[in-house]
């Protein structure tokens, strides 16, 4: 129980780092760490398939995309970042305190709605659910990947001469 809470605290800390880090590259890596920690949380909940996907896709693929965006825009954006540092600090320093206050505040609130944990009834296997009951969502996934391909073709194009 205590370990799980520590894990969740780490998750929030990693997310906080991702939003506060002054260098973009470091923020990106912190985001990857957040994803990895979330994957561990998902695994602990027993959502193994989702955990694997979170680890490979979010912590892996999205990090690659973000790192490439950061490095492709590097020289100019570094200058911008240096100029921006003061203002960033002014906008971001309250965030940790707000989070701590919110966390403490929320832990003192009495739960307004009663949620009873239901027994894990015969819910079945995730593969069966996905393939037999949620076919429509699978179809949606295929479509959105297709849209993504067109997105790459349209948006990652060199300027017409």
């Amino acid at each position: 129980m205590i370990w799980f809470t520590v894990l969740l605290v780490l998750l929030v800390l990693a997310a906080l780092w991702a939003s506060m880090a002054s260098a973009l590259l470091r923020a990106t890596l912190a985001l990857a760490l957040t994803s990895a920690l979330l994957a561990v949380v998902l695994f602990a909940f027993g959502a193994t398939l989702a955990a694997v996907l979170e680890l490979s896709v979010c912590a892996g693929l999205i990090t690659v995309v973000l790192v490439s965006v950061t490095s492709l825009t590097q020289p100019r954006s570094l200058k911008e970042q240096a100029a921006d540092r003061k203002r960033r600090l002014r906008r971001f320093w309250p965030l940790p305190f707000v989070l701590i206050a919110a966390g403490v505040g929320l832990s003192f609130v009495k739960v307004p709605v009663d949620i009873v944990m239901r027994l894990p009834a015969g819910d079945g296997d995730v593969r069966t659910v996905l393939w037999s009951l949620r076919q429509l969502d699978l179809f949606g996934q295929i479509l959105i990947l297709l849209a993504g391909v067109f997105g790459v073709l349209v948006l990652f194009r060199k300027e017409a001469k």
Binding site: A47, C58, V69, S77
Partner: protein, 106 residues
Amino acid sequence: MTIEIPQAFWLYFTFFALLFLDGIWCMLATRNMVRVLIGIEILMKSVTFFLIVAGFLAGRMALAQALVITVIVIEVVVVVVIAGVILGFFRKRDSLDVSNTREMKG
């Protein structure tokens, strides 16, 4: 590895709310497009977490997992499209700052 999972909704809701707040702040308090994207990602993490918690507490883990898998796939595509927009913007403007390059008037 066995971790004992507490069955307290409010504990999870607190952590979800913190992640959510962090993501929103990150999205709104910056003018750098890549940071906005990072904020969006943190928001999506919080939602993924909450979906799994909901499935766990409702005893519908398999369903929640199926939903989360779909969400992750959608998330990737959206991130790639956003990255494309950011790169296009950078190529034209040589800047990642959205706010001082507004060409449109209200």
